[in-house]
């Protein structure tokens, strides 16, 4: 009893500790860390099965309604699966990879621009970063689609720009802006003492940046970078609004080819959902795992 009371009397053990002194709370979120991905990675693996449930169960409901049989629904979807996957989903992945490639290259340059000591570089870099970070992706996509010509003429050669290339360009812009913020955040997360140590050894600013600062924050940039790749992949269906023949566009076309049975909507879109989940879920898990690993050793 006495022991119990003692235990009870220790703040934080028996009861919640309180203080009127200022308290430094643990950092709950990394500066540029994942949020959407954390949530996604937090889902248990059987979420995939739950998501698949509509695909499985919908036909039963439809059968009960007496219009479509299980066999017809499955058969219809099954017939289109290879096409939707090979021509549709893989194209989404291709778009996401190109957009990520260009977004990363441009974003790295823009991020370095943001930490430049020259105002004529860091101000515009900051502006473009904020502009594309805070604009709806769909609006950016529409502007890119309408603003870019469908063909350009260089030295008499006519080079046509297909819609999917415009989509890649449009998607790479918000990615660029967010990568830029990751680079800026990571560079600024390196203690100023490292700058001072390099300065006192007579390193130039460029040498300090490339030899000392960037190598230290490279690892820290990987998890948020992967996070943005997952978000980008999930955003690729936006391209269907531009007429790019990716999985959602093809699903719609396939359903039209199957006489637009409304009963097909849920199975077809759920199939796309499951594909994206299977692709993005491991990325989210790895991101969170890497984040934990790199968070320890600063």
């Amino acid at each position: 009893m006495a022991a119990r009371q003692t235990r009870h009397a220790i703040p934080g053990l028996g009861r919640t500790a309180t203080t009127d002194l200022p308290v430094l709370k643990p950092l709950s979120r990394p500066v540029a860390g994942p949020t959407a991905t954390e949530w996604l990675a937090g889902l248990p693996w059987w979420t995939a099965l739950v998501l698949m449930a509509p695909v499985m169960l919908w036909p039963f409901y439809v059968q009960a309604a007496g219009k479509f049989t299980v066999i017809t629904a499955f058969g219809t979807l099954g017939k289109w699966v290879p096409f939707l996957f090979m021509s549709g989903f893989l194209f989404n992945i291709l778009i996401s990879m190109f957009a990520m490639l260009f977004g990363t290259l441009a974003g790295a340059a823009l991020g370095l621009g943001q930490v430049s000591k020259f105002a004529f570089i860091n101000r515009p870099s900051w502006f473009f970063t904020q502009l594309f970070r805070n604009s709806p992706w769909l609006v950016i996509l529409f502007i890119v689609l309408l603003a870019l010509p469908f063909e350009i003429v260089i030295f008499g050669f006519i080079i046509s720009i297909p819609d999917w290339m415009k989509a890649v360009f449009g998607l790479s812009l918000p990615i660029m802006a967010n990568i830029s913020e990751i680079v800026r955040g990571a560079v600024q997360s390196v203690p100023t003492a490292q700058w001072e140590a390099s300065e006192s050894l007579a390193f130039t600013r460029r040498q300090t940046m490339w030899r000392i600062i960037l190598p230290q924050c490279f690892k820290r940039m990987i998890p948020p970078w992967m996070n943005w790749y997952a978000i980008l992949t999930m955003a690729t269906p936006l391209c269907s609004l531009l007429g790019v023949e990716e999985i959602i566009t093809l699903s719609r076309q396939a359903m039209e080819a199957e006489n637009n049975h409304p009963e097909l909507l849920v199975p077809f879109y759920s199939f796309a959902l499951v594909l994206f989940f299977i692709y993005c879920y491991p990325i989210a898990r790895i991101t969170v795992a890497l984040e934990r690993r790199y968070a320890v050793k600063l």
Binding site: A193, Q194, E196, A197, S198, E199, S200, L201, A202, F203, T204, Q207, R211, I212, P215, Q216, K297
Partner: protein, 249 residues
């Protein structure tokens, strides 16, 4: 401007004023350091000691007065900071080693990148420096694998690799365990005995008394009292110095 000669002070600080915004941290500080001299700056926290030595390698700029290192005027708007820093080595309280480089790489980087010296020569010199700071066998260790005292000795070796004329030590033992303080102090003492010009900001009174040629006591942005250790500790006249010494000794 007259060329610097060995008879002139290697570091000359004249009536230096330094502000951080509205706050004035140095209020007219003057001191001269001759080549080969060891100078200790002591004083209570916030008295401007660290700021003063950070001004000597232009990590901080000054708003009034003149600092000259080997005749290089630090207030010159055309000052070549890199040329200055090749001559002035600095060791920090928190070591500030590069965590992604091994001890050897930490030492070799600046001579190779800044002085563009031959890699093999630099490697040999770095090995010798590791020996000098008594860290043989730790060449390939990363800073994270070394104790505080060992890291600080690598930091000293890193500065020495640039063959500076002056070494600045900014409270280099303040972050160390009592047991490891000694190994760092021994390293500094070796250096001082070899004739390296050293300016130390320190709280180690015993050490200051042992190695310093001259001790300066700063308080509130001014030098209150100074003198050789023999007289400084026993014949302090200023009441602030007396009070400080009575608390420490």
């Amino acid at each position: 401007m007259a060329e610097w000669t060995e008879k002139d002070p290697i570091v000359s600080i004249q009536d230096v004023h330094k502000y951080f915004g509205e706050l004035q941290v140095l209020k007219g500080v003057s001191l001269d350091v001759m080549k080969g001299e060891v100078v200790c700056i002591i004083g209570p926290s916030g008295s401007g000691k660290s700021t003063l030595i950070r001004c000597v390698n232009a990590l901080n700029d000054i708003q009034g007065g003149v600092i000259k290192v080997r005749g290089i005027d630090l207030t010159d708007p055309e000052l070549d900071k890199l040329a200055l820093r090749k001559r002035v080595g600095m060791v920090f309280q928190q070591y500030n080693l590069f965590p992604h480089k091994t001890a050897m790489e930490n030492i070799m980087m600046a001579p190779m990148l800044v002085l563009k010296e031959n890699e093999e020569e630099v490697r040999q010199r770095a090995r010798d420096l590791m020996k000098k700071v008594r860290l043989e066998g730790k060449e390939d260790a990363y800073p994270g694998e070394l104790s505080g005292g060992q890291q600080q000795r690598v930091a000293i070796a890193r500065s020495l690799a640039m063959s500076p004329d002056v070494m600045l030590f900014d409270e280099v033992t303040a972050a160390l365990d009592p047991e490891t303080v000694k190994e760092v102090l021994v390293t500094i003492k070796d250096l001082a005995q070899e004739g390296m010009t050293c300016i130390l900001v320190t709280h180690e009174m015993g050490f200051a008394r042992e190695i310093a040629d001259h001790i300066y006591f700063t308080d509130n942005g001014v030098i209150v009292e100074h003198g050789p250790p023999a007289t400084f500790f026993s014949e302090a006249k200023d009441p602030r110095t007396k009070e400080f010494l009575s608390q420490i000794l």
